[in-house]
């Protein structure tokens, strides 16, 4: 039996890795993947809590998050593809038209 703390530590590590990747990387696609990592870190924490508290709500929420994440991935990837078609690049440093 693995103690619940191990899951939390893993989730925290995954989350921090996602954040770091988001800031270090400069292309949209990788940054998008970093976001997904953060999302799943959250999922893992939810599951660990659900297991250790013996409640089902956490698992239900995870199922919802996976569903929503799937939809979000579709839209996000579609946006990235469209941006690429328009600009021939997905480097976020070059996409700064909203500068005030």
């Amino acid at each position: 039996m693995i103690p619940p703390a191990a899951f939390f530590i893993l989730a925290a590590v995954l989350f921090v890795l996602g954040v770091l990747a988001f800031f270090v990387k400069k292309d949209l696609l990788t940054q998008f993947m970093a976001v997904e990592v953060m999302l799943n870190a959250g999922n893992l924490a939810f599951l660990a809590l659900a297991k250790s508290l013996g409640k089902a709500e956490g698992q239900v929420i995870v199922l919802f998050v996976i569903t929503v994440a799937a939809a979000e991935a579709v839209i996000g990837l579609a946006i990235i593809v469209l941006i690429f078609r328009q600009r021939k690049t997905v480097q976020t440093d070059e996409l700064k038209d909203l500068k005030g």
Binding site: V19, F22, F23, L95, K96, G100
Partner: protein
């Protein structure tokens, strides 16, 4: 049927609403029929209610109807309630009766006008507000009607608003009336403060019973009377009425002769208890009336625009009504109001018929000899002129005599003398009009091909009806030597207004009547000498007394004085305020705040780098800070 009396004002009101909303889409025929039948229905209902009222046993209260609660604020409550008593019945019949004839007349007079529906919408709206004014059972609702008729007056004076003079005249009427209305509102507020209500019955009773201190009664009565001087064009606020002649002639007849301008007289009669309780206020009313009657009559002597003559004549005649009210002969004042409504609207409509026949000419110096061309207009105008001059056995004779007798009986010999002198002047300027318009050489400057023609029947029939009333209306209030009970009108009104002055001996009254008749005939004779027998006389007289003549033609320079004392300082003050406050403070604050927003935007500009990572960093820092707060 009589219980439905509260519909009297609402029918023209509904018609006006329909015409305002859909008038542009309706045919002219439909508009004319709808507007006239709305007033006709009101007239029928008024007649039914009147008959009901007459049949009631003496002392019984009139009809009342509360439509809905209106204001309820602390101790003060007011509801929209109509009342129909003897005094109201007189006004309602005059407003709807004369109003109906003028509506019919207008269908022909305005036939060529582009804004036919707008005209009738405003005319119906006026009828609505005027009926609200006369049927209101308290002062606050009356004030609503009071302002409403003022609005309609403004709209109709400025009906041809493309003409700068008309637009300006409408504005003048509105602004001058504001001055009076300010005093009127203050008067109402004094009453509300001290009585907690403003129903006419309560006010009259409180004034009579001494519930209100005599100083307060005088103050309120004078404040309300200042409002009346605005609406009824008395000194010092009469200046708007002559200019109001810029409106269409039927409007002058309805609003600026027969009904709206007499609202002040009606108000004083409605509050006769209040005015009777204050001798100083009554004295003010009577003397303002007498001064106005003489003053306006002298101005009418030298005007050349036929409508202006009639306008000054209206001011003068309303002065007579106020003399009646001021000396306590309220019924006589109302009596003159009724007869005046008939003969003055007759004179205006006949003048309109002349103007119509001459394609818009209003200057009497370019008329003359019209008697042959206008076989209907001439006799009815003559009847109106005889009636207003006070020739025996026509209506004006009886009503003017009632007022003068009231003044004499009250011991106010100076007022009586002023009234008598006014009679000479009235007869003189009226017959100056008659001789200039209908007799003598033709001085018309018509372009060839346009012949002078009598007006259509829709115009002449109302004229004939009004002429009949101008002759007959006097017989409802005969003087005392026809018997104690001859004054039907006075006895009829006795339950609504304070009854008048002490009776005087029949022989004295006979003498008064004789004097009044002689002065009227004197005026006519003078006019005959001046304008028929020796037409050179007026100009010789004018060059003999150039000062007086110029003073009269210049209208005593009152307009100029007001302009210098009131209008120009106000305008200059407004300009100063515009420069100092509007431009600097208001516009300045606005511009400065906009500049400040711009500056703040520029300052915060650097935050919006457009880089996703910067935003994410800000987000992260925020999240960590928030979490930190949550955990620690």
């Amino acid at each position: 049927m009589a219980e439905l009396f509260w519909l009297i004002p609402l029918i023209p009101g509904a018609s006006a609403l329909l015409l305002v909303l859909f008038g542009a889409k309706l045919s002219r025929r439909w508009v004319a029929w709808q507007a006239c039948s709305a007033v006709f229905l009101s007239f029928l209902l008024s007649a039914v209610a009147f008959v009901h009222l007459v049949r009631l046993p003496p002392g019984a209260p009139g009809l009342t109807k509360t439509l809905l609660a209106w204001i309820s604020s602390g101790p003060f409550a007011s509801s929209i309630a109509f009342a129909f008593d003897h005094l109201t019945a007189v006004m309602a019949l005059v407003v709807t009766g004369v109003g109906l004839l003028i509506h019919v007349y207008s269908t022909a007079y305005m036939a060529e006008d582009r804004s036919y529906a707008r005209y009738f919408a405003h005319l119906n709206l006026f009828t609505f507000f005027m009926l609200v004014l006369v049927m209101a059972s308290d002062l606050v609702l009356m004030f609503v009607g009071w302002e409403g008729v003022g609005l309609c007056s403004y709209l109709l004076i400025g009906f041809w608003f493309e003409r700068p003079a008309a637009a300006k005249a409408g504005m003048k009427a509105f602004v001058v009336n504001r001055v009076g209305d300010a005093a009127f509102i203050i008067g109402i507020l004094f009453l509300l403060d001290n009585l907690g209500g403003s129903s006419f019955a309560a006010i009259n009773e409180a004034a009579a019973s001494g519930l209100l201190s005599s100083g307060l009664v005088t103050l309120v009565a004078i404040l309300l009377f200042i409002g009346a001087t605005g609406k009824s064009a008395q000194i010092p606020l009469y200046v708007w009425l002559p200019d109001a002649m810029e409106g269409p002639t039927p409007v002058s007849a309805l609003i600026h002769a027969a009904t709206m301008v007499t609202a002040g007289v009606y108000m004083v009669c409605r509050l006769s208890g209040l005015y009777a309780a204050s001798i100083p206020a009554s004295t003010v009313v009577a003397w303002i009336g007498a001064a106005t009657a003489l003053f306006a009559a002298t101005l009418a002597l030298v005007q050349n625009d036929i409508k202006k003559v009639l306008a000054y004549s209206t001011i003068s005649q309303i002065g007579y009504m106020f003399i009646g009210c001021g000396v306590g002969a309220y019924a006589a004042g109302m009596f003159h109001l009724v007869t005046h409504a008939f003969f003055k609207s007759l004179l205006f409509l006949a003048a309109g018929s002349v103007i119509h026949a001459l394609a818009g000419e209003q200057d009497m110096r370019r008329m003359g000899g019209l008697r042959k061309h206008l076989p209907v207009t001439f006799p009815v105008f003559l009847v109106g002129a005889l009636a207003i001059s006070g020739i025996p056995f026509l209506s004006g004779f009886f009503s003017k005599d009632a007022i003068l007798t009231g003044a004499f009986a009250g011991g106010q010999y100076a007022l009586w003398g002023a009234g008598l002198l006014g009679t000479v002047l009235t007869a003189f300027y009226m017959f100056r009009l008659v001789y200039m318009m209908f007799y003598g050489k033709e001085r018309t400057a018509m372009e060839p091909g346009h012949s002078i023609h009598e007006s259509p029947r829709a115009m002449t029939i109302p004229l004939v009806i009004l002429a009949a009333f101008s002759v007959l209306a006097g017989y409802i209030g005969l003087p005392v030597f026809f018997g104690e009970k001859a004054d039907l009108f006075g006895r009829y009104l006795a339950s609504s207004v304070k009854s008048g002055s002490p009776h005087i001996a029949v022989s004295t009254e006979g003498l008064l009547v004789l004097l009044a008749t002689v002065s009227a005939l004197l005026g006519i004779a003078l006019a005959f000498v001046f304008y028929r027998r020796t037409p050179a006389l007026p100009s010789r007289l004018a060059s003999r007394f150039p000062g007086i003549y110029r003073l009269l033609v210049g209208k005593y320079y009152i307009d100029e004085v007001y302009d210098a004392v009131v209008v120009r300082p106000l305008v200059r003050g407004a300009e100063k305020v515009y420069e100092r406050f509007d431009l600097k403070v208001i516009d300045g604050a606005l511009n400065k705040s906009a500049a400040a927003a711009g500056l703040a935007g520029k300052g915060l500009n650097f935050l919006q780098s457009g880089l996703v990572r910067d935003y994410a960093l800000a987000f992260l820092i925020g999240a960590i800070t928030f979490l930190g707060f949550l955990l620690l």
